[in-house]
Amino acid sequence: MPVTIKAINIHAFRGIPDLELELDGKSVIIRGENGTGKSSIVNAIEFFFTGKVFHLEGVKGLSLQRHGPHVHYSPEDVRIEITFNPGNVSLTRTFTSAPAPPEEFKDYFQVTQKGTFILRRSQILAFIMSRPADRFRAIGSIIGIERLDEIELEMMRLRDNLRGEVESIESRIDTLFADLSRSLGETITKIEEILPALNKILREANLPEIEAFEDFDAVSEEILKAIKKDVNMEVIKTLKDVKSTLETLLKPDDVVGELENLNEKIEQLLVEGFDLSELSLLESKLLEVGKSILEKEKRDTCPLCEQRIDRERLLSKLHERLRILRSLSERASEIREISVQVKRKLEMLVDELQSILTKIDPFTELSEEKSELPRKVDFLRSFMREIETATELRNRIQVQKFNQQKEEINTLLSSILTKCKTRLEEMELTEEERKLLEIISLIEQVKIKVKDISKLSSELADYRKFYELAEKIYSTFSQVKKQKVQEIYHSIQGDIQRFYSLLHPNEPHRNIELIVALGKRASTELKIESFGQKEDPRALTSEGHLDSLGLCIFLAFVKKFNESCSLIVLDDVVTTVDARHRENICKLLIEEFGDKQLIITTHDGVWYEQLRAAQRAYGVEGNFKNLSIVDWSVDTGPIIRPYKPRWERIQEKIVSGDKIGAGNEGRQYLEWLLERICELTQAPVPFKSSGRYTVGDLYDPAKKRVKELIKDEQFKAHVFERFKNLDLMIIMGNLLSHNNILAENVSIDEVESFCNRVKELHEAFLCPECGRFINYYRDLKILRCSNSRCEKPIEVKTK
């Protein structure tokens, strides 16, 4: 026995304070005007099963926690209880607890908790109008491959990251080879080219060659023996470094000149009393905004205090003030730029002095300089702070003081340089020995780089293999997934086409195809053959056709994948489909999904009536509950009553003085009647791509066609008298449409009279014997009662 919903209890959710819906396991059609709580019922069902509400997901500023509860309640009050058959099992969802279905409901809940049993108009667009990737996602959620998508995505990310890693290692190896090429004076691209290049240098220096990389250290030691003195390479290197740094530092620079320039600019601003504070910047912004408002709005009152102002004079003042502020701001910006440059130079000097201090630490002959240098570093640091405060116009820069200290620093550095040179000379290295030392240094460099290249090459080999494996895993998975999804598409294409042909018989759209896009990871293309061309359906079909195609795709997937779940919810999905095609949708739903529990909401009276007529025609009225939302307020929520025939509803509304409600019903009644007359008599009506026809569109074509078609003068006169009665009131048909404020001016008596005349016209087309609507038999050239069992069927001759 399939699981069905017996009752739904909604408390404190969306537009519903409290509502109990008895379904008794039947399908239900709920009709209600916009804003009367239909979608709140659908949202509550969705929330019960999934814990989410589709249109509150992923939208900035919207959240289920804030917008889920009814406005008079808080999240902890929300409670949706659904009772299921078999077993009369009641389950509850709140914000803190999920329903715990029994084992026998497992398959049903496995489908419903994905939410793929609900179709809203906005979701139809996901099948038709969305990008191929979004369409794939929409379909993927129904066929249950979202997890596979995540796996595929992780596999793809790994493959891409490993490719990135391989490229990064290759680039690091290239850099090392480039360094070696520079050091050895030859282009080196392979590790085998290193020793020949190095040996060439050794040969030119009459030194022993290196046969293998392991011999680097032995050869270096051998060369070192050729140098007579006991050379401490580290000391020589340090002294050389310090010497080189000092020679650079002692080169003349223009820091003093830059400081003087900076000081001059600061002094000018100080004299002018300019304030660089935030307040001044705010003032500038405020003036800009004020000027912009005055220019744009051309107002003569102040936007802040609403006092009258002389706009032109104020604008001229603002221009002048802003000109001054801009000029000052430019000068302040120039000062900041110069100060940043000077500070950067001083910071570099401090860094160099610190480095020299560290390097000369082992040298006892530099003890005096070692004690003096830190004081100079301290001075420079404090001087940089002074520059900073001066930049903020809080003081002037003491350039003289800096100049004096800079000279002392230079004296100190010159002394260190002299002592370093003396020490280096004491080592008395010959030119030949220096060259040998350089070669030893070169061998050392090559040794380190060869080691790095070997290590990286080994890593590269591993990563290339990892990449290769990751690529194989990803591409195999992706290919299998695409192939299987395409197989699914093939397997339901027949159903999509069959459903679509049922809705649109004799129309030139065929061969609907869902195609997994091959070059993309997760993407689905939709094609339909129209007029011999295979195109995206948006290219050649109307909005109504697109919506019905989306519905067919949804239903085809539901048929295949929601087999274990009897529930289908259609929330206002046929708004753009015309009356004739909607009748076919009724047929499709009852013929193909008669075993499902349908919950259909609509604001459309005509569609509601069509669904009821289809129940009667198929003899399945007992499987449906037809409900109407008759009223809604924030305090009561939707007030739902069982279905009543249209004429009964109109009369009830007239009696209660609800002229807007009665008027709307009367207009819809006339629209429905004219559509039927036009369809019956095959009246030519100007085509509308939206498929929605109003009284204004249908009235004249219907009247004209009846006049042309009917031969029987008595019947013609009978019908025409009713048209004539309506002629005087036909304006009401348009007046009583939604949101027409002029409808307020119509009296309840006028509405009643209008509705009566519509009913009279309707009755003219009913068989007097059995009350059935008459039918047109073109070949027989007659209008006749459509009931084959009618004992005295009406028969009217046509031309």
Binding site: E154, M155, L469, A470, T476, V480, K484, V485
Partner: protein
């Protein structure tokens, strides 16, 4: 078997036909996919370990 099971089965069948992919990688990947906690880090771990084991053998 659902669509997911079918895809897994065909995927592992194709992988095992490829001699360049060590069987230990296929086994560990199966376990990983069944565990439901798939991430690129975990797949990499499976590849690295499987490759190293195969190299040592």
């Amino acid at each position: 078997m659902g669509i997911q099971g079918e895809i897994f089965e065909e995927f592992f069948r194709k992988l095992s036909e490829d001699e360049a992919i060590p069987s230990s990688i296929i086994e560990k990947l199966k376990e990983l996919l069944e565990s439901g906690e798939v991430s690129q880090e975990r797949i990499f771990e499976v590849i690295k370990r499987g490759y190293n084991d195969a190299s040592n053998d």
